[in-house]
Amino acid sequence: MLLEIKDVCAGYGDLQVLFNISMHVNEGEVVSLVGSNGAGKTTLLRILSGLEPIKSGIITFCGKDLMAMKSYERADYGIAHIPQGRGILGSLTVKENLVMGAYPKAVRANMEKNIAKAYEMFPILNERKNQLAGSLSGGEQQMLAISRALMIEPKLLMLDEPSLGLAPIVVKEMFNIISEVAKNGVSILIVEQNLKQALSVADRGYVIETGSLVMEDKASDLLNNKAIQAAYLGI
């Protein structure tokens, strides 16, 4: 098991946001955590990146205690996080964003090779490499965010609402890209409100409601689940 979360409770000050969350991601698996706005999805990913503490529970990554790792050490261990809003460094150029992706020592030597791969996957980034990343369109920024995350050669790629703010056609493309990335053996944890897209690319899915997991199943089964269709897909 790559990532295992056991009985995690967390929150902000007195406000508890996550209640006894237990879930896992296997090696090579695509897992989607879906739920509506305010359910606690972002909070969970921020915990996994070391940006928020937990109140109780255990999280292990590759068998190691994740909460014992400093947040800036987690990239070294192969955790890449594309935050909500993409986390592009707008005052750096496109190329500089990619270069920063290769900051962990273990992957610095592979920087040129990985940048070439990124340009091959997204030629537009090559064309715009000397432009400030802030000037890219939303879709291009998401491409840059994914490419930058891949620079660290992650074991686990976490995406927080990759579809947010993108045109429907771009959303589709984005999820195709995520499937591509998964085929290369990267484990992926997607957090989404957009159930349909997120579950259609996933192997397994979890549904979160106001801080508690209410369902876990194969993604295809969740998509066909009547209760979910009624609650989230308006079918």
Partner: protein
């Protein structure tokens, strides 16, 4: 009249160089940490005293003291960061303002306690040397200070734009959380930014030892002029601090040279009002507003 104007302009540009250097130091700290360091004037005073200590021990002129002052200021910065700044990271801006103001008085009083109040000088033939270009005179210490500023500002510019550490500092400046996700130890980049800023204040102090007496309050002229330079340049922008410093130097030079020796600060104050009226975000500022 033209002679007075050109001569004042020249001295203004040159003294602006030190404001610029000092301002760039404050700007680096603000740029990365989003906090204004109000103790920089007192750090400058310590730069002057470290230079004086070096002279007292070796008898060499101030420029030989550069490595010594860099090391001392770096160490001072490190201690200040560990003891005072680090516990404040993540708290609000007001506490940083209050604490750095307090630190400023502490450093000034510590200097007074250690060195006393009587002015010290570092005698050297350079003090009174000057370069003559036609009918205009350029004081050598100011000229050297200006050149040193140019070199240091370019060095910082290259650091920020051409090195991994520099890019990490820029990443931290823009989005500290994203920087951490990318593997950057932001506490370390904060420390380095703070150290560079303090070292710049110290070097500014060193460079003015041939021009001013060394006293615990020698930093006070920088308390207004240099901070105003940073503001009119657009807080957080290195180009802005550079241009702002020189503009303030020129205004001060022209006002003192052509109107009256006492009116320099008035001219600077008016310039501030004018810039805030026309372009409140400063020359290069992006109008970013913090609470």
């Amino acid at each position: 009249m033209t002679w007075v104007f050109v001569q004042s302009l020249i001295s203004g540009i040159l003294s602006g160089g030190v404001y610029a250097l000092f301002g760039v130091g404050i700007t680096i700290i603000f740029g990365v940490m989003k906090m204004v360091d109000f103790s920089a004037c007192s750090q400058l005073v310590w730069g002057m005293y470290f230079t004086w200590i070096f002279y007292a021990v070796t008898g060499l002129n101030c420029y030989y003291a550069i490595p010594f002052v860099v090391i001392c200021m770096g160490a001072l910065a490190f201690v200040i960061f560990k003891l005072i700044v680090r516990p404040l990271l993540g708290s609000n801006d007001t506490s940083f303002i209050l604490v750095t103001l307090g630190l400023s008085y502490f450093l000034q009083n510590l200097a007074e306690f250690v060195f006393g109040t009587d002015p010290k000088t570092i005698p050297s033939p350079i003090k009174t040397s000057s370069i003559q270009i036609g009918e205009y005179t350029i004081g050598l210490p100011r000229f050297i200070a200006f050149c040193a500023m140019i070199v240091l500002v370019f060095a910082v510019y290259a650091l920020l734009n051409k090195t991994t550490l520099g890019r990490a500092m820029r990443a931290t400046a823009e989005k500290p959380e994203v920087a951490q996700m990318l593997g950057i130890n932001t506490k370390k980049t904060f420390t380095i930014a703070f150290m560079i800023g303090v070292i710049f204040a110290g070097i500014s102090g060193l460079l003015i030892t041939p021009i001013y007496y060394v006293t615990p309050t020698s930093g006070s002229m920088f308390r207004t002029a240099a901070y105003i330079a940073v503001i009119i340049g657009g807080l957080g922008d290195i180009k802005g601090a550079l241009v702002g410093g020189i503009v303030i130097g020129v205004i001060e030079g022209l006002v003192t040279g052509m109107i009256s020796n006492d009116l320099g600060p008035v001219g600077i104050g008016l310039a501030l009002l004018l810039v805030l009226y026309i372009r409140p975000q400063g020359f290069f500022g992006k109008g970013e507003r913090r609470a």
